[in-house]
C-alpha cells in the first residue's frame, strides 16, 4: 500500500510486512516474528529522525 501512502501525501512511509499483518508474519517462529517487528519499528524511528520535504519511502535496506 506504499504507493497509496505516497499518493495521499504521507510524509514518512515505512513498508511493512503485509496488509493482513503489517507488523508480523504468522509463518515465522514467534522469535523471528518479533525480530521482524522490531526491525520495522526501528526503521520507523530512523524515518522519524530524518528530515523530509516530500512523501518519502524508507525501504528495506
Amino acid at each position: 500500500m506504499t504507493p497509496v501512502a505516497v499518493m495521499v501525501g504521507a510524509n514518512r512511509i515505512v513498508p511493512a510486512a503485509g496488509i493482513i499483518h503489517p507488523l508480523g508474519n504468522a509463518d515465522l517462529s514467534l522469535e523471528d516474528e518479533k525480530a521482524l517487528r522490531r526491525r520495522i519499528v526501528e526503521r520507523a524511528l530512523v524515518a522519524l529522525t530524518t528530515e523530509v520535504t516530500r512523501p518519502t519511502v524508507f525501504a528495506n535496506e
Binding site: 500500500m1 501512502a5 499518493m7 495521499v8 501525501g9 510524509n11 514518512r12 511493512a16 496488509i19 493482513i20 499483518h21 503489517p22 507488523l23 508480523g24 508474519n25 504468522a26 516474528e33 518479533k34 517487528r37 522490531r38 520495522i40 519499528v41 526501528e42 520507523a44 524511528l45 522519524l48 529522525t49 528530515e51 523530509v52 520535504t53 516530500r54
Partner: protein, 351 residues
C-alpha cells in the same frame, strides 16, 4: 404579492446594509422592514416571485468574534418573520462575512427547515467550511455584478423553495456539496470512457465523471528532540479495539475512533482485544494484536532507553471506505489530543 409569492428574509453585513464600514463592524444584529442595501438587488431579482419582507444586518466583527451568539440572535430575528426562504450575502471575498453567511444558512436550514442560499468567491473561507451543508453560489471577488449574482442566488433559492431539485453544481453555478445523485444516461460506461479517451487523445476538453479528491500537501514536521528524550505514540487505522468494541467503531466507513490505555502493559493480550475492520482478513491480528500495534517491541525500546517514553494511550479507528472528510477530522482530533498530552512523534500502523 401574488398568491405564490414567497416571503424572503435577507442577511447582509454592515457594509452591504449601508450602516457603514469597519467602524460599524462591531454592531450587533438588527432587523429592518423590507429590502435594504444589497437586499434591494435580491428584491429586484425576485420580481413577482417573492418579497423581501425584512433585512437582517449584522456587523462582521460581531459575527466573527462571537459566532454562536450572533447566529442565535440572527436566527431569532429571521424566525419572527416566518420566511419561506433566506438569502445571505453574497459575500464575495469577504471572509468574516462569508463564514457568517454559511453559519446562518446552516442554522436556518437545521432549525426552521426552510431553504437558505448564499453566494461567495471560491477562495472565501466560508466555502470550505459550509459547502457541504449549504448551497453556495459561486460569485466573483467583488460586487461589480451584484444584480447578476443576486439573480443566480434567487433562481437557486426559488428552486429549493418550490421543493424542486437543483441541477448539477457546474450547471447551476454552486459549489459541489459532495452529494452523489443517480442519473440515467443514454450511453453505457464503456462507451462514455471510450469517448473520453478519444477526446483526450485528440486534445479536446473532457471531464471525468469521478472527480479525484484533492489531497493537500502537508509539510513534514521535524522531530525536535532526540529519540532518547521523545514521547512516541502508537496510532492505527487497522481496527484494534477492546473486546466488545466499546466505542462502536464502524466496520467500514468509520466516523469514530477510540482511545485505549496501555498503561503498565508490556504487551497486548489477544484475549482482551477484537477487531471490527471489514477491509481485510483480521484473523492474524486477532490472534496476536502486536501484528498490528507493536506495543511489545516499543515497550522494550522504552525500557532500553532507545526512546524516551511510549505514550500510554493508543488511538485506533477503522480505515476502509472512510471518507477523506472524516479521516481528516479524526486525524486532526487525535493530533490535538496527542499534542496536548506532550507526544513528540507518532508511529501509525496501517493495513
Amino acid at each position: 404579492m401574488t398568491k405564490d409569492a414567497r416571503r424572503v428574509v435577507c442577511y447582509v453585513n454592515q457594509f452591504f446594509g449601508t450602516l457603514g464600514g469597519e467602524e460599524k463592524a462591531g454592531v450587533g444584529p438588527q432587523i429592518v422592514d423590507g429590502a435594504v442595501g444589497a437586499a434591494r438587488a435580491v428584491q429586484q431579482a425576485l420580481g413577482d416571485a417573492g418579497t423581501v419582507v425584512a433585512t437582517v444586518i449584522c456587523g462582521d466583527n460581531y459575527a466573527a468574534e462571537q459566532p454562536e451568539r450572533a447566529v442565535a440572535e440572527m436566527l431569532a430575528l429571521v424566525t419572527a418573520q416566518r420566511p419561506d426562504l433566506v438569502i445571505a450575502g453574497p459575500a464575495f471575498l469577504a471572509g468574516r462575512y462569508g463564514v457568517a453567511c454559511g453559519a446562518l444558512c446552516a442554522a436556518v436550514q437545521a432549525t426552521l427547515q426552510i431553504p437558505a442560499v448564499t453566494g461567495m468567491h471560491a477562495e472565501n473561507p466560508g466555502v470550505d467550511l459550509y459547502r457541504r451543508q449549504v448551497y453556495i453560489v459561486q460569485t466573483g471577488g467583488e460586487a461589480v455584478r451584484m444584480l447578476d449574482d443576486a439573480r443566480r442566488l434567487v433562481t437557486l433559492g426559488l428552486t429549493l423553495a418550490r421543493g424542486e431539485a437543483p441541477g448539477a453544481p457546474a450547471a447551476d453555478g454552486y459549489f459541489a456539496r459532495g452529494v452523489t445523485h443517480n442519473v440515467v444516461v443514454a450511453t453505457n460506461a464503456a462507451e462514455r470512457a471510450t469517448a473520453m479517451l478519444l477526446d483526450k487523445l485528440a486534445g479536446r476538453p473532457f471531464a471525468s465523471e469521478v472527480p479525484l479528491p484533492d489531497f493537500p500537501n502537508v509539510p513534514a514536521p521535524r522531530l525536535i528532540k532526540t529519540l532518547e528524550g521523545a514521547t512516541i505514540a502508537l496510532v492505527t487505522d487497522g481496527g484494534l479495539v477492546p473486546k466488545g468494541n466499546p466505542d462502536g467503531i464502524e466496520p467500514l466507513n468509520a466516523t469514530r475512533y477510540g482511545a485505549y490505555s496501555i498503561e503498565g502493559k508490556a504487551g497486548l493480550d489477544a484475549a482482551l482485544y477484537d477487531n471490527p475492520h471489514r477491509g481485510y482478513d483480521t484473523s492474524f491480528v486477532k490472534q496476536d494484536p502486536h501484528r498490528l500495534v507493536p506495543v511489545d517491541v516499543v515497550r522494550e525500546l522504552e525500557q532500553r532507553g532507545a526512546i524516551g517514553k511510549l505514550h500510554e494511550t493508543v488511538y485506533s479507528t477503522v480505515g476502509v471506505a472512510t471518507t477523506l472528510a472524516h479521516s481528516a477530522r479524526m486525524g486532526r482530533e487525535i493530533a490535538e489530543k496527542l499534542r496536548a498530552a506532550g507526544v513528540d512523534a507518532v508511529i501509525l500502523t496501517s493495513t
